[in-house]
Amino acid sequence: MYTQKVIDHFMNPRNKGKPREYDAVGKVGNPICGDVMYIYIKVNGNRIENIGWETMGCAAAISTSSMITELARGKTLEEAEKITKKDIADALDGLPPIKMHCSNLAADGLKKAIENYRKKVEK
């Protein structure tokens, strides 16, 4: 059902947990559906210096949380917000179709974190 990459990121999740320091968080998902993701970012200048996450969810939810940290770290905010669900799924060599929309929340979570960061900076 899952690719080798998904299982690898699920079994050995990268950058898990809430970072000690962060500038903004993006919260997505819904406990009723079983998947909730918090994406935390620390921004330096215009770049994502650190990124971490807390996720309750299935293997797809956890592995996409893990994967987005690898895709987004070091990127500018403009580059990072362009990361799509498909980019994450592709980086994991694919997700089961049924998991594409319900558990593939990391791109939305990151966008929301960036949005919240910009709101905070504007104030």
Binding site: M11, K27, P31, G34, V36, Y38, M56, G57, C58, A60
Partner: protein, 388 residues
């Protein structure tokens, strides 16, 4: 590997396999043939029929072999509905039935039948008064599972039998999970029909039976050459049927020793798993299958739990949406009052005769670690909180 998912399926018992093998080889006859090869197959099927009947205190002529639990439940419900549609179009079942019962009922609803789905209490038991008041002049069938496959709750079938006998309706039970684990007696339970599946009792997959009490009239699902008394046509699955018969015989013979041992093991698992914080038992604390334990762990999701346990060599299952094809959490857990977020974090462990004390000890070492690991990753530590 430690297999604790025996309510999903079981391995074929070695003795059962040995019993079956000749029927794939030299004893390949068609039971309808007149020659001796055919008659040998016929005799084997009839011997299996006797073994199956004995376990449930039925007459061998009341056993109709099928392809398993799903077909038997479809056969019972559709068979009565079509045969008795002139007497009435009302069926009673429960909210916690297996999908093969629920989806059959939904299909009948689209064809003019009316179905009452009885509620269950927080432990998964129906209320007998509720059943009594739901029975009507035009109720043709009551179908209630003996032991639930997810939470293990065991209904009081004798009480249900007494109640239904007062009406015109037939009583069917799905005994797929209970047979060879609990005493099952079609007479004491006053049953008209009962379903069994072989692969849940250390027999082969794709075979089972429907017990139909003498005098009960059903329409067949499969029309054809008139096998199984004209009620289930199609050349018999001889090897499967003889394996099923032997599995029933062995399972029932070993029940008095095996079940108390497994229940003790299950109780030990239950007592210790419940020491984990924010964890509870689903199903009835006492009236449950001796092999079943079902827990909810708050703040985590069941698919992840099952996959991490699998990585540690423990096979179990969950009622999480992620494990289903529908993306909905288990209808059974919702029916006993769990919130969806609580149903997602459930774990079902179902024991079998190969499970040992050592298996339970290993599980009790690994499970708390895995739960804790997932909770560390979860954004929820105290409650599910507000959502923005």
């Amino acid at each position: 590997m430690i297999y604790m998912d025996h309510s999903a399926t079981t391995p074929v018992d070695k003795r059962v396999l040995d019993f079956m093998l000749p029927y794939f080889g030299e004893k390949y006859g068609n039971a309808s043939s007149l020659h001796s090869l055919g008659q040998e197959a016929k005799k084997a099927i009839e011997e299996a029929r006797v073994k199956v009947a004995k376990v449930i205190h039925a007459d061998p002529s009341e056993i109709y072999f099928t392809s398993g639990g799903t077909e038997s439940n479809n056969f019972a419900i559709k068979g009565v509905s079509f045969a008795d549609k002139d007497k009435g179009k009302h069926i009673i079942t429960t909210k916690i039935e297996h999908d093969c019962v629920l989806n059959t009922c939904k299909w009948l609803e689209k064809r003019g039948f009316e179905v009452t789905y009885l509620d269950v209490d927080k432990h998964g038991l129906i209320d007998i008064g509720d059943l009594e008041s739901s029975l009507r002049e035009d109720t043709i069938l009551v179908s209630i599972t003996h032991a639930n496959n997810e939470i293990g709750t065991v209904q009081d079938m004798e009480e249900i039998g007494k109640t239904v006998k007062e009406s015109n309706a037939y009583l069917h039970t799905d005994a797929v999970q209970s047979v060879t684990k609990l005493p099952v007696d079609v007479k004491k339970m006053r049953l008209d029909m009962l379903s069994i599946s072989s692969h849940k009792i250390f027999g082969p997959k794709g075979v089972g039976c429907l017990h139909i009490r003498k005098g009960v009239k059903l329409d067949p699902l499969a029309h054809g050459g008139g096998h199984e008394g004209g009620l289930r046509s199609g050349t018999e699955n001889v090897s499967g049927i003889v394996g099923f018969g032997e599995a029933m015989k062995i399972g029932e013979e070993e029940r008095p020793k095996a079940m108390p041992r497994l229940q003790k093991l299950r109780d030990k698992i239950m007592d210790n798993v419940l020491k984990i914080d924010n964890t509870w038992l689903n199903g009835h604390p006492q009236k449950r299958l001796p092999i079943n334990a079902n827990f909810s762990f708050k703040f985590i999701e069941g698919e992840s739990l099952v996959l991490l346990l699998d990585a540690k060599g423990i096979e179990a299952s969950t009622g999480s949406a992620c494990s289903s094809k529908s993306l909905k959490p288990s209808h059974v857990l919702l029916a006993i009052g769990l919130k969806p977020e609580e149903a997602h974090g459930s774990l079902r462990l179902t024991l079998g005769k190969d499970n040992t004390e050592k298996d339970a000890d290993y599980l009790l070492e690994v499970l708390p670690e895995v739960v804790s690991e997932l909770r560390k990753m979860s954004p929820f530590k105290k409650d599910y909180g507000e959502f923005e």
